[in-house]
């Protein structure tokens, strides 16, 4: 998935959504298709968040190098 295709997900909101999905599963609902959709959404969010954090790490390193801290 290239950067440009990443859906816009706010990191804090992403975490909240992940938690609510986990809660949904813990309640043991029986809708399989809905569950599968939710799981896919969860994995999507997790992937985006991971990429965001990787990017942030790179940016921090670049800024540090730029100002020779």
């Amino acid at each position: 998935m290239s950067k440009k295709q990443l859906p816009k997900i706010d990191v804090a909101q992403g975490f909240e959504e992940l938690e609510s999905i986990a809660e949904w599963f813990e309640k043991g609902h029986g809708h399989l298709d809905e569950g599968l959709k939710k799981f896919e959404r969860a994995m999507e969010i997790a992937g985006v968040l991971k990429q965001r954090l990787d990017e942030a790490e790179n940016t921090i390193r670049e800024i540090k190098e730029k100002f020779a801290v």
Partner: protein, 409 residues
């Protein structure tokens, strides 16, 4: 008989008196009474004993000793009649104190008088500058006190500009010279300073940082110049802060009491005027080291704060990563448990259904009997001899006929 005019008579009498009482040969001793100083110029009082009284008259500048009513003095001067009023008096050239302890008593009286005027008031004493640069020194060039003072001064501190105002430190002329020296030191303006705008330098300012007056020890009489009222007043009036040390530790003169700072001896005087360079060097080193360690401590704390600030984003990121890991894993577990739960439920239904399926029974070797209409027969009571039935087995059916019926035992 010779006829004289009044003025001629008085003139002759005055000549006779003057020739008969050569000064320095006769002094008249008695007790002072009705002492009065008028217009700051003339002093008059009566000199008396038990039986007689004579009026004394003198210009105030001839008076060198502190006199008050009741003290005994010796008057040296010329007896004369003042022509205009025909009044007989001694025109005094000099007055000395007479009798045991007279000097001390006179000093005590002068002390009381000056104290009442506030000349010794501790509240008006000024501090000497810590690092004086220009010193006016009122002392005798030839005295040991001068040598001691300058020697100790240079041992302790360098680079001082010392102007000596040479004066006599004892004798009749000493007070006048000392007063003149103090006044002259106060009239000198400072040299042009590069730190002040032109024209401001010297205006209304005094040139010296301190005025030092000192002499070595001596008898009370030797030190009397420093108990002279005019000298004490000049010290009191000095714009330059004054430091006075006369005689030994035990000697205390009025000049010292009027001074801003009193030194006990000429050497002590030098110690009070300047700090010891060793002390100052030590103090400087301590200040420098304190500044250095303060600065180092400050830098360290700033550096730690900076490090913390620089590391903060990475720490935050690591925290976020861990949170993501946790959230993902929670999700993962929840999904697996959810799917597992769904499967279990399904399996339970399957098992239940399987146990109800007759095919399952047939598979274990049992058979089922149906009538012609396909209904299941579970009792012999439903059968008749010759009736057509079908036996259902796990893999097929067989057409049969009932031949015999027997009830279960």
């Amino acid at each position: 008989m010779r006829i004289l005019q009044v003025s001629e008579f008085i003139e002759i009498v005055n000549i006779i008196l003057r020739e008969s009482f050569a000064t320095e040969e006769v002094a008249v001793e008695g007790e002072v009474s009705g002492y009065r100083a008028s217009q700051g110029q003339w002093v008059t009082f009566d000199l008396k004993d038990e039986k007689a009284l004579v009026n004394i008259f003198m210009p105030v500048w001839n008076l060198r000793v502190p006199i008050q009513d009741g003290i005994r003095v010796r008057v040296i001067g010329l007896p004369r009649i003042y022509p205009k009023y025909g009044k007989f008096s001694i025109s005094a050239e000099r007055i000395e104190l007479a009798g045991e302890g007279a000097l001390k008593k006179a000093l005590l009286l002068l002390h009381q008088k000056l104290e009442q005027e506030g000349l010794f008031d501790p509240s008006r004493k000024r501090a000497l500058p810590r690092f004086p640069e220009r010193i006016a020194l009122v002392a005798s060039r030839d005295s040991a006190a001068y040598g001691d003072f300058v020697r100790v001064l240079s041992e302790r501190w360098g680079g001082l500009e010392i102007d000596l105002f040479h004066v006599l430190v004892q004798g009749d002329n000493a007070p006048r010279e000392i007063v003149a020296a103090i006044q002259s030191a106060n009239s000198i303006t400072p040299p042009a300073s590069p730190y002040l705008p032109a024209g401001k330098a010297g205006k209304g300012r005094i040139g010296y940082d301190a005025l030092v007056m000192t002499r070595g020890g001596g008898s009370l009489e030797d030190l009397m110049a420093f108990n002279d009222e005019a000298v004490v007043r000049a010290i009191h009036a000095s714009q330059i802060p004054t430091l006075v040390a006369i005689g030994h530790e035990r000697d205390l003169t009025l000049a010292e009491e009027a001074a801003d700072v009193r030194g006990s001896t000429p050497t002590d005087c030098a110690r009070r005027l300047v700090p010891d360079r060793k002390d100052v060097q030590y103090e400087l080193a301590a200040v420098v080291s304190a500044m250095e360690s303060n600065l180092t401590r400050y830098m360290e704390s700033r550096r730690a704060a900076l490090d913390h600030a620089v590391r903060a984003p990475s720490l935050w990121l690591a925290g976020q990563r861990a949170a993501l890991e946790r959230a993902t894993s929670v999700c993962d577990t929840a999904v697996r448990q959810w799917v597992g739960g769904l499967k279990d439920r399904l399996q339970a239904h399957i098992r239940l259904l399987e146990s109800l399926d007759p095919k399952g029974v047939l598979a274990r070797g049992y058979a089922m009997v149906k009538d012609a209409s396909g209904r299941s027969i579970s009792s012999v009571a439903q059968l008749q001899i010759g009736q057509a039935t079908a036996i259902v087995l796990k893999d097929g059916e067989a057409e049969t006929e009932v031949k015999k019926i027997s009830n279960a035992l």
